[in-house]
């Protein structure tokens, strides 16, 4: 009986794992293999490092936000990464959002409040394309979930630029060469470089540090529920494990009556 139960659990697990394995088959395109990078937030017990998140947010604000939107994140969400309500009010007030119509029927601009979402840097996709050589900078709130390789891909992309395309590679005017982008030709010019940002906490802003921090910030933006989800999951798994063990003992006792 125990063997069968084990077989059943294995069958369930294997089918699930196998189902996922089949999907990996097309994950790699023609781009280079992603390098290994250490993260604190991955794995079963991983959590976001608050200092990394804050630095990453600074990189987002000072670099990414000039072209990319973050449409699913409101200023109030920054509470979750350790900013106080006062700090958030101050951060929001640095941005202008459109509101209205007022009593006269006119739209007007006002400083953003905590409940506002991060404003889009462009009025519409057409304006965004016009300012970016025809390419549309994608929204970043789900970027980490929307690319095969996730946060590893993001880090690799940000550090994977090459000033000159390799010999024989035809680079279209205005495009950049990147080892990890599909087709190796990317419309986004190299966004990060050493000392692109002066960190408020004094951390040395190397390219790797900047790319790491902003990747962590965007991983949070994509999955703000992640820490709570994992913590809840642990409780749920422990509960189910104990419940199942007890039920199994009861089952053995009940079935013993038959023999």
């Amino acid at each position: 009986m125990r063997a069968r139960l084990f077989a059943m659990a294995t069958a369930l697990g294997l089918m699930f794992a196998g189902a996922g394995f089949t999907q990996v088959a097309h994950a790699s395109g023609d781009a280079a293999e992603l390098p290994d990078h250490e993260w604190k937030h991955t794995g079963m017990f991983g959590t976001f490092d608050r200092a990394e998140l804050h630095r990453g947010f600074q990189v987002f604000q000072e670099v990414c936000a000039s072209c990319h939107s973050l449409e699913f994140i409101a200023f109030r969400n920054l509470v979750e990464i350790g900013y106080s309500e006062e700090q958030i009010k101050a951060i929001a007030a640095e941005y202008e959002v459109e509101d209205g119509p007022d009593a006269e029927g006119d739209m007007f601009m006002r400083p953003a409040r905590s409940y506002d979402y991060f404003p889009d840097p462009f009025a519409n996709p057409q304006a965004a394309r016009a300012s970016n050589g025809g390419a549309l900078p994608p929204d970043l709130s789900l970027m980490v979930k929307a690319r095969d390789g996730g946060v590893d891909y993001l880090y690799a992309l940000l550090t994977g630029y090459e000033e000159e395309a390799p010999e024989g590679f035809e680079l279209v005017e205005g495009m950049s060469y990147n080892h990890y982008f599909r087709g190796n030709q990317i419309a986004m010019p190299e966004p990060l470089y050493e000392e692109a940002v002066e960190y408020a906490d004094g951390t040395e802003p190397t390219l790797e540090q900047l790319a790491h921090d902003v990747s962590v910030f965007l991983a949070w933006a994509a999955e703000p529920e992640m820490e709570f989800r994992k913590k809840t999951g642990l409780k749920v798994l422990i509960f189910i494990a104990i419940f199942t063990a007890l039920i199994y003992i009861i089952k053995r006792r009940i079935w013993a009556r038959l023999h």
Binding site: M1, R4, L5, A7, M8, A9, A11, L12, G13, M15, F16, G18, A19, G20, T22, Q23, A25, H26, G29, M44, F72, N77, P138, S141, L142, K145, A146, R147, D148, G150, R182, A222, P224, E225, R229, K230, T232, G233, L234, V236, L237, I240, A241, F243, T244, I247, Y248, I250, K251, I254, W255, R257, L258, H259
Partner: protein
């Protein structure tokens, strides 16, 4: 039927007018089940529980979801970010669909192995096949709802299959879409049907169980129940045994929901649907991959669609293709081998379906497709004619007791066991 609860006047009063108490007692408590059901028999009730879980989480998600091309993606993210426990509801629902299929596929292969589709359970089996069809329709339409890139393009590819039907195909597709491409009317009707189909499923599940309780469960020996010694009451024996399986299933589901919630999903479904950008690879969810491989194995579009539909519809006639009178593979040494080959064939089809149709995948896909149909149309009828089956045991309880006696030698004669299990 008098139940223990009949000592209460109110129960007697209700039961006299609407016999819910005696009915539940008859079907959930004293229902005589074969005493030798193994853990593979858990999967029927597990499938039922998954259906309930999908309906409960789905109803909650529907409270916050907006079925409109401009809002579907955003309202899904709203559920993930702003709705209390919304992320858990959505991850339960999305991974629950996969778990539902895992459980149902194991349930079906259990039926294959132990010959559960044979007389007198053909209609019970038909209801099962109908359930599979409804599940497929329901899960496909559900996958379209969040309106990501894969939602949109899967909807486009799959609905376009209908255009292969001669003469009326094109008109039919326009009618299905409610327009000239997959657009807002398509999303709306998929939402409506996605909410409807699970309740139809509940109805068919009821018929499935009705037929089951009328002719009683098959069992690992595949022989009929001959006396009350062969059975034990469903409660407490199988309620508690099913709960063990439930615990194991929920544990596996929880691992995915809390730690690998997007492992089975497609990353590009986190990109808003864009009719102007076709993704490089359009793949269905894992549970459709074998059918997808069969579809692509046939070089002709209409032929592919027919083969794909036939791959499931053939199950309707399985009870007559397998002419062997012995049900369980335990007593069919050759069928047992072919069962495992067939299972491997289905897994390889799934693997082929996940890969682009190029190079050796085309050839492997075609061989496996031919074998898939040959299993039903050639191997099973021939086995019925030529296979020499092993002798069947006299009865369920004799087989069980013989095994017990062998297992714990010296535990005394087990002959006096109270088979009914009731004092």
């Amino acid at each position: 039927m008098t139940t223990p609860l009949h000592r209460y006047k109110i129960v007697q009063w209700i039961d006299y007018r609407l016999p819910i108490f005696s009915w539940s007692h008859e079907h959930l408590v004293v229902y005589p089940a074969p005493r030798n059901l193994n853990y593979w028999w858990n999967f029927g009730s597990l499938a039922g529980i998954m259906l309930v879980l999908q309906i409960v989480t789905g109803v909650i998600l529907a409270m916050h979801f907006t079925a409109h091309v401009d809002y579907a993606f955003d309202s899904t993210e709203h559920i993930m970010r702003n709705v209390e426990w919304g992320w858990m509801m959505r991850y339960l629902h999305a991974n629950g669909a996969s778990m539902f299929f895992v459980v149902v596929y194991i349930h079906i292969f259990r039926g294959f192995y132990y010959g559960s589709y044979k007389s007198p359970r053909e209609i019970l089996w038909w209801m099962g096949v109908l359930i599979l069809f409804l599940m497929m329709g329901s899960s496909f339409m559900g996958y379209v709802l969040p309106w990501g890139q894969m939602s949109f393009w899967a909807a486009t590819v799959i609905t376009n299959l209908v255009s292969a039907i001669p003469w009326i195909g094109e008109t039919l597709v326009t009618w299905l879409w409610g327009g000239f491409s997959v657009d807002n009317p398509t999303l709306n009707r998929f939402y409506s049907l996605h909410y409807l189909l699970p309740f139809l499923l509940v109805g068919v599940v009821f018929l499935h169980l009705w037929a089951l309780h009328h002719r009683k469960s098959n069992n690992p020996l595949g022989i009929d129940i001959k006396s009350s010694k062969d059975t034990i009451p469903f409660s407490p024996y199988y309620t508690v045994k099913d709960m063990v399986g439930l615990g194991v299933m929920l544990f596996v589901l929880a691992i995915f929901v809390f730690y690998l919630p997007n492992y089975l999903g497609e990353t590009i479904n986190y990109i808003k649907a864009d009719p102007l950008v076709t993704p490089p690879h359009i793949v269905p969810e894992w549970y459709f991959l074998p059918y997808y491989a069969i579809l692509r194995a046939v070089p002709d579009k209409l032929g592919g669609v027919i083969a794909m539909v036939a791959s499931i519809a053939i199950l309707f006639v399985l009870p007559w293709l397998d002419t062997c009178k012995v049900r369980s593979a335990r007593f069919r040494p050759i069928y047992k081998q072919f069962f495992w080959i067939f299972l491997a064939d289905c897994l390889v089809l799934g693997w082929v379906g996940a890969n682009p149709p190029e190079g050796s995948f085309i050839l492997i896909g075609r061989i496996c497709t031919v074998y898939y149909f040959a299993h039903f149309l050639i191997i099973l009828p021939l086995l019925g004619k030529f296979e020499r089956t092993r002798p069947l045991p006299e009865s369920i309880h004799q087989a069980v007791l013989a095994k017990k006696g062998g297992d714990d030698a010296g535990s005394g004669s087990p002959g006096e066991t109270n088979a009914a299990g009731n004092p």
